[in-house]
């Protein structure tokens, strides 16, 4: 084998990634130190040092977006983990039509985010929306109105009054299946011996879940959570279509703010600095999760070993 062969295999991928991923990111780092206006050639723009970064520290709008992003990402990940893992534990048994069920469950993940946003915006609509139709069906506010009494249940202005909750619900709908499928796969590949040993020792269902299943699944769960968390920071289209970041700044996540700063306000330098903050945040999260993953993996290995000794 020629010494150059591996590089020839790598070259096309490396070239494309260098051109459309690494170079742009380097370019963004460079641009974040400049007063970057999209109409100018970047080399003619003024070097402003850390000014863009410093300005963001004092920018209340940026901090608002930052906190909205964190609230959104952590809420959806926590809720999706709880529901997804719960469903997997519940459905991890021999039932007829399991594969059909899984197929139907992964449907939401495959549909384009802009379409998901479209459907959910419609369903949350104050007058035409599915949810308020359902509420009307229960409460029948037209009848109350006709009687001249105020209805005890009023139509909810979902996107106007609970915008963040609305987009969180849409995201939960779309991505809980991801957690569900991965936890189910993890559950089904657990060592039989450990589970049987626990059953013979008389562990109740809850005890099996809490002391055997969850700790053994932990490494996969942590990776799943990491993947989902990173993706939650990438969410943009669903929110863009559902609320456009509003009302006010209530759903303006960082990704949306970057896009707006670049496109509407034409402050490319500031948008680049914001992108760098987002990247740093993601890097920290990833590193933290990796450390956590090491720890859970070591623990579950010990547990598996102990179970096999006993079994």
């Amino acid at each position: 084998m020629n010494r150059m062969t591996p590089y020839m295999f790598i070259a096309p991928a490396a070239l494309v990634m260098a051109l459309a991923l690494f170079y742009p990111i380097g370019y963004m780092m460079w641009g974040s130190f400049r007063d970057w206006d999209p109409t100018q050639n970047i080399s003619e723009t003024e070097f402003v040092g850390m000014a863009n970064y410093v300005r963001l520290w004092g920018d209340a709008f940026f901090w608002e977006s930052f906190s909205v992003t964190l609230i959104f990402a952590f809420t959806v990940v926590v809720v999706e983990m709880v529901i997804g893992v719960g469903l997997a534990l519940l459905l991890d048994r021999n039932i007829r039509g399991m594969s059909v069920l899984r197929t139907l469950f992964i449907l939401p993940m495959m549909i384009a985010p802009v379409v998901v946003g479209l459907v959910w915006r419609f369903m949350f609509h104050q007058t035409y929306g599915t949810f308020n139709r359902f509420l009307d069906w229960i409460a029948g506010w037209r009848i109350w109105e006709w009687l001249g009494i105020e209805s005890p249940i009023q139509p909810v202005d979902w996107l106007g009054q609970n915008p963040l909750l609305s987009v969180i619900i849409a995201d939960i709908w779309q991505w809980t299946p991801f957690i569900f499928i991965l936890s189910l796969a993890a559950l089904q590949s657990l060592p039989r011996s450990a589970l049987e040993a626990a059953r013979i020792d008389g562990a109740t269902g809850w005890q099996q879940v809490w002391f055997i299943k969850l700790p053994l699944m932990a490494p996969v769960l942590v990776v799943t959570m990491l993947l989902r968390l990173i993706d939650a920071f990438k969410v943009l289209e669903v929110i863009l279509v559902m609320t456009g970041g509003g009302p006010g700044l209530s759903t303006e996540i960082l990704a949306l703010r970057i896009a707006r700063t670049a496109r509407e306000f034409r402050e490319l330098g500031e948008a680049a600095a914001m992108s760098n903050y987002l990247l740093m945040l993601l890097m920290l999260l990833t590193l933290g999760m990796f450390a956590f993953n090491r720890w859970t993996e070591a623990r579950s290995r010990k547990l598996k070993f102990a179970a096999e000794e006993e079994g």
């Binding site: 084998m1 020629n2 591996p6 295999f9 790598i10 096309p12 991928a13 494309v16 990634m17 051109l19 459309a20 991923l21 170079y23 742009p24 990111i25 370019y27 641009g31 970057w36 050639n41 469903l87 021999n94 039932i95 007829r96 594969s99 069920l101 899984r102 197929t103 469950f105 992964i106 449907l107 495959m110 549909i111 384009a112 802009v114 379409v115 998901v116 946003g117 479209l118 459907v119 419609f122 035409y128 599915t130 709908w173 993890a186 996969v220 990776v223 993947l227 990173i230 990438k234 943009l236 289209e237 279509v241 990704a255 970057i258 896009a259 670049a262 496109r263 948008a271 992108s275 990247l279």
Partner: protein
Amino acid sequence: MADTTYERQNPAFYVLIAILILMSVGPVIILLANSMRLDVDITSGVGGLIFMPTIRNYETALCDILWYEPEHLRFCQIRFGGAFINSIIIALISTALTLIFGCMAAYALVRFKFMGRDTVSLSTLAVRMIPPAVLLVPVFGLWNNAFCLDNDYGVGEWIRDTFGGRGDVCLAGTHSGIIIVYVAMNLPFVIWILQSFIVQVPKSLEEAARVDGAGPFQVFFLVVLPLIKPGLAAASIFTFRIAWNEYLLASALADRDTMTVPILIVNNASEFDGLGTIFATGMLLAIPPILFTLFASRQIITGMTAGAVKG
């Protein structure tokens, strides 16, 4: 699986499953139903799921590529057909390129020991966390300025002659400009999941081929590739899905002639008359991923778990 025995379940369990399926599929059904309703019926909400379906919305959406003139239209407003064709071109070409480059790189990372192997492996892992919003600023800048060759010789001329695009020879506004971003964005993921499939190919097979006088590229294309077909199927579905659904980068890079379906949906989503037409375009955008899910859910699940369980 004929030998599987099913446990008997509590009836309440089946009720739960039915509710879950309804929650998962319900929004898709609402999308489908509304795409076949007249706007009046959508907003008045009569009839629930019982209504006269109409294909009028689809005719309106596809009016620019229909071979006949729909009688309810005076002129063609939403030029969905062109966007649909752009989406197909961009998604198919970028999927093909990503797969070819990705599996070559994955093969090199699994089978060869070479200098810089760890660096390549680590950097593919690291770039998975980059949100498209972070790429927006630099890619927009580069594709519109730095990767513009205003001259009439060399690469600039070649790009214009080969790929078309605007007169000032920029990557922005061309199909290739969007394709290269999607290929770069999807490569890390494809490389990552294909590695876990290539590891399972027995080395002895490759050695036998080599003894018979095959070169490394022949071994790769004739021996390895046919063996990792399931992995390729999974990777291609994921890549296609992202390229087909992506909005943000496409909206920054496309012009009138190269715009994709998600851009068209976002541009028109806020108009509440023509709602049925928008739902029809949404449905048309959702159909390919839905078909994939129904026919290849096994590959999708394998691909997802291969990505996560390996970490």
